[in-house]
């Protein structure tokens, strides 16, 4: 997806393949500028002014090819979205019960009274106390966590097949986040909804997702199951992200959590040097190559495709390093280093290693 800007075309999304089997939870993780939110919004036709190419197949039909009115029928009823800041996504001037009821009535032929009853039920389902009273409150009368619950209620009102949650808990306190994630998990299981959760928080992904996609500079750079990403990452960006986390192997104390083992805490973190690229001037070849400690010559020239690393293709990575180099730790890193050097020595130049 490309946006025309006065400084030239801005390629926000540069090739994303995503498939979500029904009833599963997929996590999309990436930092700012990775294009993760934009991808989701564009699928639902919520972005103006962009040139979009490609396909987004939902239940067999291409969303990108649909007309505005067809999309409107899909949005809300079949695909629902929850955003980061409920204060800006809920209309401040209308009561929440009314908002939910209106949404229901936009898609289904029910009376006002019926819709209102549904709204009360929904509020109860998401854990809002005294729903019969609170259904008539305005958004600003709820706390952040409660507002997010209202958003979830609204999203799930019509039992959509797919729920897209864009940074649903980023603005919330950590104890409230726990409540919301717990709620999402329960509802997802009960209603068998597929969920795409988009976030930058690797902890949230670990709690929620079954499949994980890692995005960088507008494309997917790695895709794996949950364990795959955290235990056997392949792409150096994923590795770098995990290495940047202060919480990597530590866990808070008992009795509410088992203790993690090694104490890497006091050591320095291993951040990824440099900054994510501007989407106006994406580096040639692999977009991560300027920051990659294992860069090889081919990385500068040819952009790697998302290749399967194992037989069943469940783990894919867009990297030129050999497919068996997965995992964390000095041993694997050593082999990565060796591979990288081999890939560079060809031109007779020696470079700083990462």
């Amino acid at each position: 997806m490309t946006f025309p800007t006065p400084d030239g075309p801005l390629e926000a999304v540069r090739g994303v393949d995503l498939d979500v089997p029904s009833g599963t939870v997929v996590g999309v993780v990436g930092e700012s500028g990775s294009g993760k939110s934009v991808t989701m919004l564009s699928m639902l036709g919520l972005i103006q002014g962009a040139q979009v190419s490609g396909q987004a197949l939902f239940e067999g039909r291409d969303l990108l090819g649909m007309s505005a009115s067809e999309l409107r029928k899909v949005r809300g009823a079949r695909i629902a979205m929850v955003f980061q800041d409920p204060l800006s996504s809920l209309h401040p001037h209308y009561r929440v019960g009314w908002q939910i009821a209106e949404m229901i009535r936009a898609h289904e032929p029910v009376s006002r009274a019926q819709a209102r009853r549904r709204a009360v039920e929904l509020l109860a389902m998401v854990g809002i106390p005294q729903p019969e009273q609170r259904v008539d409150d305005y958004p600003h009368q709820f706390s952040g966590g409660m507002r997010q619950r209202v958003m979830i209620a609204m999203a799930l009102a019509l039992h959509p097949r797919l729920l897209i949650a864009d940074e649903p808990t980023t603005a919330l306190d950590v104890t409230v986040q726990l409540q919301i994630l717990d709620l999402l998990r329960r509802l997802q299981a009960e209603l068998d909804t597929a969920v795409i959760i988009v976030t930058h928080d690797l902890g949230v992904i670990a709690e929620m997702a079954q499949e994980v996609l890692v995005m960088y500079a507008g494309q997917v750079v790695e895709r794996a199951s949950r364990r795959g990403i955290y235990r056997h990452p392949h792409h150096p960006y994923t590795r770098g992200l995990l290495g940047s986390l202060p919480a990597r192997a530590e866990l808070p104390g008992r009795p509410h959590a088992p203790l993690g083992a090694e104490r890497g805490r006091r050591d320095r973190l291993t951040p990824i040097p440099g900054q994510p690229p501007s989407l106006l001037h994406v580096p040639s070849g692999c977009p991560f190559h300027p920051r990659c400690p294992f860069v090889m010559d081919v990385c500068r020239r040819k952009p790697p495709e998302l290749r399967p690393l194992d037989a069943d293709g469940s783990h894919r990575s867009a990297c030129w390093l050999p497919v068996d180099l997965v995992g964390l730790g000095p041993e694997v890193d050593g082999r990565r280093q060796a591979a990288a050097e081999a890939g560079r020595a060809r031109l007779g130049r020696s470079q700083e290693a990462g």
């Binding site: 926000a12 700012s32 002014g49 106006l280 001037h281 300027p290």
Partner: protein
């Protein structure tokens, strides 16, 4: 959708965590505004006209010299017809003459001086006062603010014209008085706007940061707040000029401004009204001069506002 603009990562393994160099341009907010302005055709045209009319104003004596007609000289033989009616544009009088046989071209040129002078000076005074008062009101808050804000409200509720008439009647018309009256009535809106801006700026973290570093209130006002007001101030100043010019012309039209026989567009128009049926040039040329000058400043002001508008500045994508 928002654009994302950051300095770009320089290829590679430089020092571990350094900041990077852009392949993309580094442009400060003023440069950006200037470039936007340069690209605006309307702005360029207006600016050109303003420069032109300023040159005319400055060069009015030159024009008088070239035509050989001083502004107050009355040419009853050549400038008026047998019946005493002003003569239309011809080789001697390019813009025709007025009811006393004076050269309209030269008078328009001299009139430009008054208009521009009063317009610019009055605006400058108004902006200066408004900014100072607005900053104090917005920054110091509570009692100071209440006092100043209420004064601004009082001034804004004054009946403009009545007050002007009364004052001039008592004191007698003069140029400095005109300037004072215009400035007095124009500063309050500026003050209001500035106060609003300062109120919101005051809460910004960088002001708190300045205090954390030990800056005094005065220093914060001048070094931190003022630059953030500069854009607004410039826009306001540019837009205030045409208002002042028209205000001044109105005063003169009503006989409250300059003293005759000083040439001035407003007073010329006042006289010309009686002669429009027989001397269209007497209305047309001063009128056109007033119109185009005001228009030029307005267009320029609008373009400046578009150029410095915060909406046009960079915004960042987060997450």
């Amino acid at each position: 959708m928002r654009e994302e603009r950051m300095a770009i990562g320089e290829p590679v393994l430089v020092a571990e965590e350094t900041g990077i160099e852009p392949g993309v341009v580094a442009r400060g907010p003023w440069r950006l505004a200037w470039e936007r302005l340069r690209r605006d055709r309307a702005a360029i045209a207006s600016a050109a006209f303003i420069i032109f009319i300023s040159l005319v104003a400055v060069g009015a004596p030159l024009i008088a010299h070239l035509t050989g007609h001083p502004p107050d000289a009355q040419y009853r033989e050549t400038g008026l017809s047998i019946n005493g009616i002003p003569v239309g544009p011809n080789r001697t009088f390019l813009f025709g003459t007025d009811e006393l046989g004076r050269d309209v071209l030269v008078r328009v040129a001299y009139g430009a001086r008054i208009s521009l002078l009063v317009g610019v000076v009055a605006s400058a005074l108004a902006v200066l006062t408004g900014v100072v008062v607005g900053m104090c009101a917005g920054y110091f808050g509570t009692t100071v603010d209440t006092l100043l804000a209420r004064s601004m409200d009082v001034i804004l509720s004054f009946p403009l014209l009545l007050f002007a008439i009364a004052l001039v009647t008592v004191v007698g018309p003069s140029l400095p008085l005109s300037v004072a009256i215009i400035a007095f009535f124009s500063w309050a809106p500026v003050g209001r706007v500035v106060r609003g801006q300062v109120l919101s700026l005051r809460e910004k973290e960088f002001i708190e940061a300045a205090r954390a570093v030990g800056a005094s209130d005065l220093r914060i006002l001048i070094v931190d707040i003022l630059p953030n007001l500069a854009a607004q101030i410039i826009v306001y100043a540019t837009l205030l000029v045409p208002l002042s010019i028209v205000f001044e012309a109105t005063l003169s039209f009503l006989g409250l401004g300059v003293v005759p026989p000083t040439p001035e567009w407003g007073s010329m128009l006042a006289e010309a009204v009686s002669y429009y049926q027989v001397a269209w040039w007497y209305v047309a040329f001063p009128g056109a001069a007033l119109l185009f000058t005001t228009l030029a400043f307005n267009i320029l002001g609008d373009s400046v506002r578009d150029a410095v508008d915060p909406r046009g500045e960079r915004m960042f994508v987060r997450g």
